[in-house]
Structures are given as structure tokens and as C-alpha cells.
């Protein structure tokens, strides 16, 4: 009994401790500058590896999600004779929810895990301690450009996802199901608001970008420097950031769309 209690206390303090370390890591690596700090070129290189190389999965996933939304929405809407509202359904679903959320989940799996593994391996091969020996802060040199690349790439990817999805839905609706294309685009334009829907979706995706990248770099930086530890940290990244994205999505939706 007492053992269990000690165990509980131990895991509790461990969780709080890692939250504290994660916050310190975020604070210390958010700003640029310092000895041996990363430059603009490093940001570009990281944007390439987290952004450009996630593009193919985002394009394919977005197109298929849009097409599925078109088909599923059609079967429901046609019962009410309101299949002309399909454009509204597809675009609002993508812009407000599926665009940011699915992109964040794919981003966690595709880019987040890679970040964790890369930083974890740097730690295991003592590259990070070598940097410290040379008077280079590994946070500023390694973490900062990766953090910012994730924060910048996420909204771009989410926007591309939503755009491709809307055109995927249009392909199904207009070319396959024979909905009038004027009705599809017209109803969409009548009910989608730029600030209310597009910008709020972008705000969501920026928040998800921060959370996913933060968890990924923290897990890598804090991992056990063994092959087993890196594997565990990579799994943790995907699991924790997926759950964090879904939880945060509820909070953000309640705050931004709940009152309307």
C-alpha cells in the first residue's frame, strides 16, 4: 500500500518535473541569438525537412478527405433535398476542423517523429554535449530553427490541405454527383466568412504547430540516450501530441466558435 503511494508520488513529481523542463526548453529556445546561434539558412533547411517533405502526404490526404466529405455529405443532404449546401458543408468542415486537426495529426506522425528521432540521436551520439564543450548552446543551435520551422510550416500545410480538400469535394460534387457548380461555389461563398472561418482556422493550425513541434523537440531533447530510449521518445511524441491536438482543438473550438 505504502509502496503504491510512493510510486504514485514518484510518477506525479516526474510528470510535473518534465512539464517544467519542457517549459524551460520552450522559453530558452523560442528566441533567436546567443553564442553559435542558428542562422536563417538553418531555418530554411528545417522548413524543407518538416514542410516541403510533408507536402506529398498532405496533398494526397487533403484530396481524399475532401472527396469523402463530398460523398458522405451528399448521401445525407440528398434526403433533405438540400444537396446544394454540399459546398458549404465541405468547406466549413475543412476550414474549421478537419484542415487544422488532420494536418496536425499527420504532421505529428510525419515530421514530429522525425524531429524527435533526429534530436534523440544527436544526444545519443553526444553531438549535443560536444556543442556545449565548444561553447555553442545546443538549444539555440539545434532546437530554435526546428521549433520555428514547425510553427511556420503547420499553418501553410493546413491551408494547402483545406484548399486541396475543397477542390476534392468539388470534383466529387460537380463531376461525379452532378451538382450544379454555381450552387456548390455560390452557397460556399455565401456562408464562409474570411475572418470567422479562414483566419480562425489558421489560428488553430498555428496553435497546433506550436504544440506538436514543442512536444517533438522536447521528447527528443529529453530522451534517454540509448536506442531504446529514442524509440520510446518517438512513440511518446506521436501519442502525446495527437492527444494534445485533439484536446486543444476542443478548447479552441469552444473559445472561438462556441458562442456563435
Amino acid at each position: 500500500m505504502l509502496d503504491r503511494l510512493t510510486q504514485l508520488g514518484k510518477s506525479g513529481t516526474a510528470a510535473i518535473g518534465s512539464l517544467g523542463r519542457a517549459s524551460l526548453l520552450f522559453w530558452n529556445s523560442f528566441f533567436w541569438g546567443g553564442p553559435g546561434s542558428a542562422g536563417f539558412g538553418d531555418l530554411i533547411r528545417q522548413l524543407y525537412s518538416v514542410g516541403v517533405r510533408s507536402l506529398s502526404i498532405i496533398l494526397v490526404a487533403g484530396f481524399f478527405v475532401g472527396m469523402v466529405l463530398g460523398l458522405q455529405g451528399y448521401t445525407t443532404l440528398v434526403d433533405f433535398g438540400s444537396e446544394s449546401a454540399l459546398g458549404t458543408l465541405v468547406s466549413l468542415t475543412l476550414l474549421r476542423e478537419l484542415g487544422p486537426v488532420v494536418t496536425a495529426l499527420l504532421f505529428a506522425g510525419r515530421a514530429g517523429s522525425a524531429l524527435t528521432a533526429e534530436i534523440g540521436l544527436m544526444k545519443a551520439t553526444e553531438q549535443l554535449s560536444a556543442m556545449e564543450m565548444m561553447g555553442v548552446d545546443p538549444l539555440k543551435r539545434v532546437i530554435t530553427p526546428r521549433l520555428w520551422a514547425g510553427i511556420l510550416a503547420m499553418p501553410v500545410l493546413a491551408l494547402i490541405f483545406s484548399t486541396v480538400g475543397v477542390w476534392g469535394g468539388a470534383f466529387v460534387a460537380i463531376d461525379m454527383l452532378g451538382i450544379d457548380d454555381g450552387a456548390y461555389w455560390g452557397n460556399m461563398q455565401a456562408s464562409v466568412e474570411f475572418y470567422e472561418d479562414v483566419i480562425k482556422g489558421v489560428i488553430k493550425s498555428v496553435a497546433f504547430g506550436i504544440v506538436v513541434t514543442w512536444i517533438a523537440v522536447y521528447q527528443g531533447y529529453d530522451s534517454m540516450p540509448t536506442s531504446e530510449g529514442i524509440g520510446k521518445a518517438t512513440t511518446q511524441t506521436v501519442v502525446i501530441s495527437s492527444l494534445a491536438v485533439l484536446g486543444l482543438d476542443f478548447v479552441l473550438t469552444a473559445v472561438m466558435f462556441g458562442g456563435v
Binding site: 539558412g41 533547411r45 524543407y48 500545410l157 491551408l159 475543397v166 455565401a190 474570411f194 479562414v198
Partner: protein, 153 residues
């Protein structure tokens, strides 16, 4: 050579993001540039709004000419007051224009439909639309129908 390729790829990636945002703005949300500042506000008093909310459309003959900006209860008359902004291009609405709360389709959203009258004067900023017709509330209709039936039988 390698770095140059990466720079180009990231540039293309960012441009795709901007194109996506522009498409979202103009193709999907139908944003127009000459939107801001080009409106004037008129008010109308209704007995019952029946689900009309802010941002609802104001239309004439089916064409959207404005939006509802504010909805509140007038505690003096205990009736609903709707403030709507109407595009400046529609500045020739007569002062006896009538407003009705209509429904798009059978189950659709509520919107305000305006119909022009025959007066010589035009509505200006802050004017009231006098002739209004409230929303059809289904429960009231059914209630009235049952009441009439009961009287007959």
C-alpha cells in the same frame, strides 16, 4: 547546389501557402476588396425574430445587399430591434421600404427581405424601417390553427 535546391523548394512551398490563402479568401469565402466602410445603417423593429441572428443576410429580390449587425431587445416596447448595414450602392431605398423576416427554404437560415415602396424620399443613415413583418413561428401557426378548429367544431 544542394542548398540552392532546398531554398527553391522552400520558396515554392511558401508560395503555395500564399496561393492557398488567396484561394480561400476569394474563391471560398467570397471576400471582396470594396467591402469596408461602404455601408449605411438602418434599424427596424420586429415583434418576433424567430431565430434571426447577427451576420444574417439582408436581401432584396433574392440579391444580398447587406448584413444584420446587431440584434437587441428594446426594453421600452419589449420588441426586438435589428440594426442592419446596407451597401452604399443601394442608397435609393424609399423611406416606406418594408422589411420581412424570411426563411431560406423549408429549414434554412433566417434572413431579412426588403421590398421597396413608392415614396419620393430615401432611407438615410440611422433611419427606421416602419413597415415590418415578423418571422413565422411554427408553434404560433399551429396554435392558431388548432384554436380555429376548436371554434368551428
Amino acid at each position: 547546389m544542394r542548398m540552392r535546391y532546398i531554398e527553391l523548394a522552400v520558396g515554392v512551398f511558401m508560395i503555395m501557402g500564399v496561393i492557398a490563402l488567396v484561394l480561400m479568401a476569394f474563391r471560398v469565402s467570397g471576400l471582396t476588396m470594396d467591402d469596408a466602410g461602404e455601408t449605411y445603417t438602418v434599424k427596424a423593429r420586429f415583434e418576433n425574430l424567430g431565430g434571426l441572428t447577427e451576420r444574417a443576410k439582408v436581401s432584396m429580390a433574392g440579391v444580398t445587399i447587406g448584413r444584420v449587425t446587431q440584434v437587441y431587445l428594446d426594453t421600452e416596447w419589449y420588441s426586438a430591434v435589428v440594426e442592419m448595414e446596407i451597401n452604399k450602392s443601394m442608397s435609393t431605398l424609399t423611406s416606406d421600404t418594408s422589411a420581412a423576416i424570411l426563411t431560406a427554404g423549408l429549414l434554412g437560415e433566417k434572413y431579412i427581405g426588403l421590398t421597396v415602396g413608392a415614396e419620393e424620399e430615401y432611407l438615410a443613415e440611422g433611419d427606421w424601417i416602419e413597415d415590418t413583418q415578423s418571422a413565422l413561428v411554427l408553434e404560433e401557426l399551429i396554435g392558431r390553427f388548432l384554436f380555429n378548429k376548436a371554434e368551428e367544431g
